[in-house]
């Protein structure tokens, strides 16, 4: 009977650990979700990854930070990309405390003339930008130029990011 006790203790410890993780989930390492140069065909990363903790998010997105804070943002990371030397884009990944927060932000933006695409849990593709959510992450990719091939290129980069995001 006593021989089974350590196993129970291990199980109990594992359960407590899982419970603790569930209650206080740390944001995933979203920096790992930014594809390196040429990991997505044609795309190069042209900057380092800049990360803003929730309390400093206003330094990046000014007053818009309030909306993200109320939706439970934990941190945001951003990096610049270039596609075949003719399209520049910025990728922003917002790590929320819960998937609900990502959904709330996603739903708050007018769909306008967006095309719905199969990416993450929900996605909208515009002529010059892509917005999608996956789990507790919200991803925005914005191109600076308006070119005919931009939507397709943005979607490819988006797929590269989505693959690297935790489920």
């Amino acid at each position: 009977m006593r021989a089974g006790f350590p196993k129970c203790r291990v199980l109990l410890a594992e359960m407590l650990l899982l419970l603790a993780l569930g209650c206080n989930r740390q944001p995933a390492n979203i920096a790992a979700a930014f594809p390196a140069s040429d990991e997505v065909a044609g795309w190069s990363r042209t900057s380092g990854i800049r990360t803003y903790e929730a309390a400093d998010l206003w330094k990046y997105i000014d007053g818009e930070a309030e909306k993200y804070l109320s939706a439970g943002v934990q941190r945001a990371s951003t990096a610049d990309y270039k596609f075949q030397n003719n399209l520049e884009a910025v990728v922003d990944i917002y790590a929320m405390s819960k998937a609900d927060g990502a959904t709330k932000l996603f739903d708050s933006e007018p769909a306008a003339d967006a095309k719905s695409v199969d990416l993450g849990d929900a996605a909208r593709l515009f002529r010059q930008s892509l917005l999608f959510r996956k789990g507790s992450q919200l991803v925005r990719i914005v191109a600076y130029q308006d070119s005919p091939g931009a939507p397709e290129a943005l979607l490819a980069l988006g797929r590269g990011v989505a693959q690297r995001l935790p489920k």
Partner: protein, 332 residues
């Protein structure tokens, strides 16, 4: 230029109103003219051909658009005329740009270059002009060429110069001011961008002054009201700001203040005024028209009407007017 030579907005208004009273005695025509000149002038200028075949703004056309705007605002014939009224040789002029929106939605580079050109023609030395915002890296990312020291136009952020140690206060606001404002310029030209703003409703001339203080993040509750008006009451801001040239080449009507191309449009224009309240009021209407065109709710219906504009015009602030009857709108 010493302080007595500086004509603030309020002093200017007082002189005009006093003048209007004198002229009023000599006839109705003069009275009508005086009443008109007592209004805050706001110029809304557009050039549909501002951009060439590419997305980039054409420098020459921008210079022309700026000249037309300024000449209309000051009612003068020559392009150098307005600048000579605004500044004197020896002045140190700060151009407070807005670089938060990245390259696509920051104060237009060609516009800033055009302003620098006209300032130098008015006798301001290149090294006495400083293009600035909160952060040097942000300026660089927006496309500005960073320059500190030497004989060229200066360009850097408050992160390089620092903030004053002492708090300055007005109403609900207590902040430390950028040393660029307090030590590097005696004249402030405000160069904001025409934007929708998630918190304030809109962001133009008055909101751009959040980039002058160390703690703007404290002042976003309640639609930034009364904080925006209170920040603009801080004496260093109020006495130095002489002109606002709002970049409306690319503007946003939703999802601001960040750049979201799906809610932005190439407006190819400028909104210019010496009255930042009147400018914000007029710019707000521009955004509302675009929202209506796109089938979006008004900002009021979206529960984010820019209430700070009325606060800035109220009896406690008197930073300008939001009364359309007291605004002379000039569209070119």
């Amino acid at each position: 230029m010493n302080k007595s030579e500086v004509t603030s907005r309020r002093e200017f208004l007082r002189i005009v109103v006093a003048g209007a009273a004198v002229f009023g005695a000599s006839g109705k025509l003069e009275s009508a003219e005086a009443a008109e000149s007592a209004k805050s002038r706001v110029v809304v200028a557009r050039d549909p051909k501002l951009r060439g075949a590419t997305d980039a703004v054409d420098s020459q056309r921008m210079l022309k658009l700026l000249d037309q705007s300024m000449q209309s605002l000051f009612d003068v014939d020559h392009p150098s005329g307005p600048w000579k009224k605004l500044v004197r040789p020896g002045d140190k002029v700060g151009l407070k740009v807005n670089a938060l929106g990245g390259r696509a939605l920051s104060s237009n580079l060609q516009l800033v270059e055009a302003v620098c050109e006209r300032l130098q023609q008015a006798g301001i030395k290149a090294q006495d002009i400083v293009i600035w915002d909160r952060d040097t890296e942000e300026l660089e990312r927006a496309g500005f060429h960073i320059s500190m020291g030497g004989s060229r136009v200066q360009c850097f952020g408050t992160d390089q110069a620092g903030y004053e140690d002492d708090l300055v206060t007005y109403g609900s606001v207590g902040s430390r001011l950028s040393k660029i404002l307090t030590r590097n310029c005696n004249v402030l030209i405000n160069v904001p961008v025409l934007k929708d703003h998630d918190g304030a409703g809109v962001s133009m001339a008055l909101k751009n002054m959040y980039g002058v203080i160390h703690n703007p993040n404290k002042y976003h509750p309640n639609g930034c009201n009364p904080y925006i008006a209170d920040v603009n009451m801080l004496p260093e801001i109020q006495t130095k700001m002489r002109l606002s040239i709002c970049d409306a080449t690319t503007a946003t009507y939703e999802g601001g203040p960040g750049y979201k191309p799906q809610y932005s449009w190439k407006n190819n224009g400028l909104v210019v005024s010496c009255d930042p309240v009147a400018l914000d009021y007029v710019g707000w209407q521009v955004i509302e028209r675009k929202r209506a065109e796109k089938g979006l709710k008004t900002l009021q219906a979206d529960k984010r009407a820019p209430l700070y504009i009325a606060t800035a015009a109220d009896a406690q602030h008197r930073l300008g007017t939001n009364d359309p009857k007291k605004i002379s709108l000039i569209e070119i």
